[in-house]
């Protein structure tokens, strides 16, 4: 079902001229409003820059004749008065634009869906909530949303402060331990938008990223349905062996695979790992080679992260990869 998004991310990244994480590549009304505000701010500031630098240059290099009388203070005072007047007018314009934009920003309203996001060290735990706020299923580092309807994120943290930022969709909101914040946004274009933690949160802050994937509502519904299923059972012997490796080698201590192992939520839920685009908090493409590398040397790839290396003999290793790839 997600085949349409199975294009290598790299290609997508190159197509966007502002980059995949650019606030100018807007995909929703909230981000778009900021760009309107930006152009107002930019125009005003450009005008001020040109005016001040211009005056500075003229003041410094204007020709002065030998016997020229000093400029009377009154004349300078009048010029200064004009400057102050213009400053006040421009500040008023800026503040008005700000407040109009903020009011629209703070607007509350009905949402189609609430998604609970908990900042972890250093990844994102994502739980989709039902109509009454009951958890439907859990996933990690990849958030699917339907296009065209506003969705709400419930942002929390049980460790340090993080910040949820998807530049193409909206401004950032912090995830604070002991507090709950909400962010309401809508995507009006299907696509993959990269987000990243924006509040310094420790050793792996730099690679704590995630993807928001906006899908047409029907595709999204399909995805939701698939996600709520338990993990797929192994089909062949190799995958069976892989499952046993998963259970015995220590993976299951931290990673939940629904229907197979329930862990105390130390690491991402892997029930539907295979269709995800990325691994390790959107740091690696989800391909066999990267998956293997990540399992055998996580500390080399993201030093200081909480996943230990798992030493396995090569057959077990291949079986485990096979099993994980089977988690459609």
């Amino acid at each position: 079902m997600c085949k349409g998004f199975r294009i290598p991310i790299v290609a997508l990244l190159l197509m966007a001229c502002g980059g995949p994480q650019s606030m100018f590549e807007t995909a929703g009304p909230d981000a778009a409003r900021v760009i309107v505000l930006w152009w107002i701010l930019f125009a005003i500031c450009l005008f001020v820059t040109i005016a001040v630098i211009g005056v500075l240059l003229v003041a410094s290099f204007r020709r002065r004749s030998e016997g020229e009388l000093p400029v009377p203070d009154k004349k300078l005072g009048v010029a200064m008065g004009w400057g102050i007047g213009v400053t006040i007018v421009l500040l008023t314009v800026i503040l008005t634009a700000t407040f109009r934009s903020s009011d629209a920003y703070a607007e509350q309203g009905p949402v189609a869906l609430t998604i609970d996001v908990v900042g972890k060290l250093w990844w994102w735990e994502v739980t989709y909530l039902g109509e009454n706020g009951e958890p439907l299923f859990r996933t990690a580092n990849e958030i699917h949303i339907p296009t065209g309807v506003p969705v709400r994120f419930r942002l929390r943290s049980d460790n340090v402060i993080h910040s949820f930022w998807v530049p193409s969709l909206a401004g950032k909101v912090d995830l604070l331990p002991g507090r709950t914040n909400y962010l309401r946004l809508a995507a009006n274009k299907a696509g993959i938008y990269r987000g990243q933690c924006a509040e310094y949160c420790g050793i792996q802050h730099a690679l704590m990223a995630f993807l928001v994937i906006a899908q047409l509502p029907e595709e999204f519904a399909e995805w939701m349905e698939a996600q709520q299923l338990p993990a797929r059972e192994p089909k062949d012997e190799m995958t069976h062996r892989g499952k046993n490796v998963f259970l015995q080698a220590g993976c299951a201590k931290c990673h939940t695979v629904r229907g197979v192992a329930v862990a105390v939520e130390a690491g991402p839920d892997l029930t539907h790992l295979a269709p995800r685009h990325t691994l390790a908090a959107a740091s690696l493409p989800n391909r066999r080679g990267h998956l293997g590398g990540w399992i055998s040397d996580p500390q080399g790839i993201k030093p200081g992260n909480l996943m230990p290396a798992t030493p396995l003999n090569s057959e077990d290793f291949q079986a485990l990869l096979r099993y994980l790839e089977n988690l459609q």
Partner: protein, 631 residues
């Protein structure tokens, strides 16, 4: 300059009275403000160079994606130490150094009011700074950023001693800065030469006064925050523990209550430097003196209403955000007034492009950009996008390098002849300026764009294909040029010390009072404390002003006290001389602070020891004047 033949002053006795003791032991007892000021300046500048090297290292790491020049563990220490040193160990101490050296000269007195306190302040600053650098070399430097937010800074998530080092170093800086602030406030209010009413006090002195008062009210925020943090880590109190009724935002409020005024605490003195230099090189008095002073004061006041704009993303109520957004925009107004005053002064004068003026020129254009991006980030919806991105990195480097470092460099070129009696090379100076100016822009302008492209701050690496590679590389090249530019100043300094042209007393034909005496000044600053009749005393009275204060004893460190507003002579007071006790007290304070990383009992012991040392410091001594003098 008072060397008329009928001069009633015995220079030799006076010089001996205000002179410094010799030898290694003597070095630790010196209290003269010029020595302490130079020590402050040199130490802060060395810290600046060190933190600058750290900045270059970070740029090397970020020059290409997935670079492995540094690992995250070291990088996080490096960026934390870079920020902490630049803000706490360079910016504040550097402006304090200028103030400690220049204020007594600019207001016409012979020393600061509490000479031993300034010595104490310096030693505390020095020891604290050295402690931080040692921690970096030991690999246990703070690594949670200069802002050091809990819960990351709590023991649960930072179990090693690194963050405790941070809390301790901050305590050192608080003590040093508060001591210097007390000293400067009282000196400026009580020791201005007769006739130097507040309305004849130079803008630089005004800016120092306002900055010092701001320190008094802003520093307690970080004092309380750092004590709470140290206790949360050491004694397991619960101030920042959400599960026990504490709150993580409490730290942010306290930290930024200090942290925002802090920016103006260093920026206002920088504007004071600019307001001093521009008139001299334009050959006319500063236009709009009153407006400038009013702007300095109102900037100081408004800056206490801005702290929440660092916290727009934390989800505070929108009404509160609105107030702080408005205040953040409003602070642009007094700054704008200062800009107009400088522009008008340049317009009305005949600017001479000597190096100090060039740096002010650079300051105006760079700070303009930093200030405007500041107005942009006051706009909440825009801020929510660029907050904690490289846009903000660009913004505050334009403010802090453009707005503070450039004026400081201008100040170094301008006052160097006052400090040493020699000139710095103009040719090297111009090279220095252009390398720094171009290097700075190449290094930091692209960062605005990086922020737009979604690059967050404080990341040790990034993935390729995010569109960040080329801009980062460009920025790194700019940094090299900027660093080389700073190196030119060092070369210039070495050159000047060896064969710089003797400067004479007033090489720039400047107007402020410090140029009325010799360069470098004698131990006693002024042979006769002058009487002031104008805002530009040297231009008005030349090197031989009207008769000033006579009858101060030459064999005692006597100064004249004046009223705080009108500067009417009020009393004669004797200042204390050299003493070892400030140094001893500083050592005891350091033991208490550093010990408190490990056990609270060190703090208790240090407090008791400190009381003893303070008693010795203030112990009545035999005075040359009146038998015994108390304190």
């Amino acid at each position: 300059m008072n060397t008329q033949t009928d001069d009633p002053v015995n220079h030799e006795t006076l010089d001996c009275t205000w002179g410094n003791p010799f030898g290694l032991w003597g070095w630790f007892t010196i209290v003269n403000h010029k020595n302490i000021g130079i020590r402050y300046l040199v130490t802060a500048f060395i810290f600046f160079l060190g933190a600058g090297v750290l900045g270059v290292l970070m740029r090397v790491q970020l020059a290409s994606p997935q670079n492995d020049f540094m690992g995250p563990d070291f990088f996080n220490q490096v960026f934390t130490v870079h920020g902490t040193v630049m803000m706490f160990l360079f910016a504040i101490p550097m402006v304090e150094g200028f103030a400690i050296y220049l204020v007594p000269l600019m207001i016409g007195t012979r020393d600061l009011c509490f000479p031993r306190l300034s010595a104490y302040s310096y030693y505390v600053f020095l020891i604290g700074g050295i402690a931080l650098w040692i921690s970096l070399f030991l690999g246990s430097a703070p690594d949670a950023g200069w802002f050091n937010y809990p819960t990351l800074a709590l023991k649960e998530f930072s179990p090693s001693h690194r963050i405790s080092v941070y809390a301790t170093v901050i305590s050192f800086i608080e003590v040093a800065a508060l001591a210097a602030a007390v000293e400067l406030i009282v000196t400026i209010l009580k020791q201005r030469a007769p006739g130097m009413t507040l309305g004849r006090t130079s803008p630089f002195v005004w800016s120092i006064l306002v900055a010092a008062i701001m320190i008094v009210f802003a520093m307690p925020g970080i004092v309380v925050a750092s004590v709470m943090l140290a206790m949360d880590r050491l004694l397991e109190t619960a101030f920042f523990q959400p599960a026990l009724g504490g709150d993580v935002l409490l730290w942010q409020h306290l930290f930024w209550w200090f942290g925002h005024p802090e920016v103006y605490i260093i920026f206002l003195p920088a504007t004071g430097i600019v307001s001093t230099i521009i008139p001299v090189f334009c050959g006319r008095p500063l236009f709009g003196y009153t407006a400038v002073v009013v702007a300095i004061i109102s900037t100081g006041v408004i800056s206490f209403g801005l702290w929440v704009h660092h916290m727009f993303a934390t989800g505070l109520p929108t009404q509160a955000d609105g107030f702080f957004a408005a205040a953040s925009g409003l602070v642009a107004l007094p700054t704008g007034i200062q800009f107009f005053a400088w522009l008008a002064t340049i317009w009305g004068g005949r600017p001479v492009f000597k190096t100090p003026f060039l740096f002010c020129f650079g300051f105006i254009s760079l700070f303009l950009i930093g200030g405007l991006t500041g107005v942009m980030v006051a706009s909440i919806p825009f801020d929510l996008q660029v907050h904690d991105s490289y846009f903000v990195v660009a913004h505050f480097h334009y403010v802090l390098i453009g707005g503070v470092v450039f004026p400081i460099f201008g100040g170094i070129y301008y006052w160097w002849p006052k400090f040493t009696g020699r000139m710095l090379s103009e040719r090297l100076g111009k090279l220095n300026f252009w390398m720094m100016f171009i290097g700075f822009n190449v290094a930091f302008f692209p960062m605005h764009n990086l922020g737009f492209r979604g690059m967050p701050r404080r990341i040790y690496t990034y993935l390729p294909d995010l569109g960040w590679d080329i801009l980062n590389q460009l920025s790194t090249w700019g940094t090299y040029l900027l660093a080389l530019g700073v190196l030119v100043l060092l070369i210039n300094i070495v050159w000047s010390l060896r064969r710089g042209r003797p400067s004479g007393d007033n090489p720039w034909n400047a107007d402020t009072l410090e140029w009325m005496t010799t360069s470098p000044p004698a131990n006693y600053n002024f042979a006769e404390v002058p009487r002031i009749t104008s805002l530009n005393p040297v231009w008005k009275d030349g090197p031989h002003p009207a008769p000033g204060v006579r009858g101060l004893r030459e064999d005692a460190r006597e100064i004249i006290i004046t009223t705080s507003v009108e500067a009417e002579p009020q009393a004669v007071v004797e200042l204390p001389g050299p003493s070892i006790w400030p140094f001893i007290l500083a050592v005891i304070s350091s033991i208490a602070f550093i010990g408190s990383i490990f056990s609270p009992w060190w703090y208790v012991a240090g407090f008791c020891g400190g009381l003893m040392a303070a008693a010795c410091w203030f112990w009545p001594i035999k005075s040359t004047v009146s038998g015994k003098v108390e304190r």
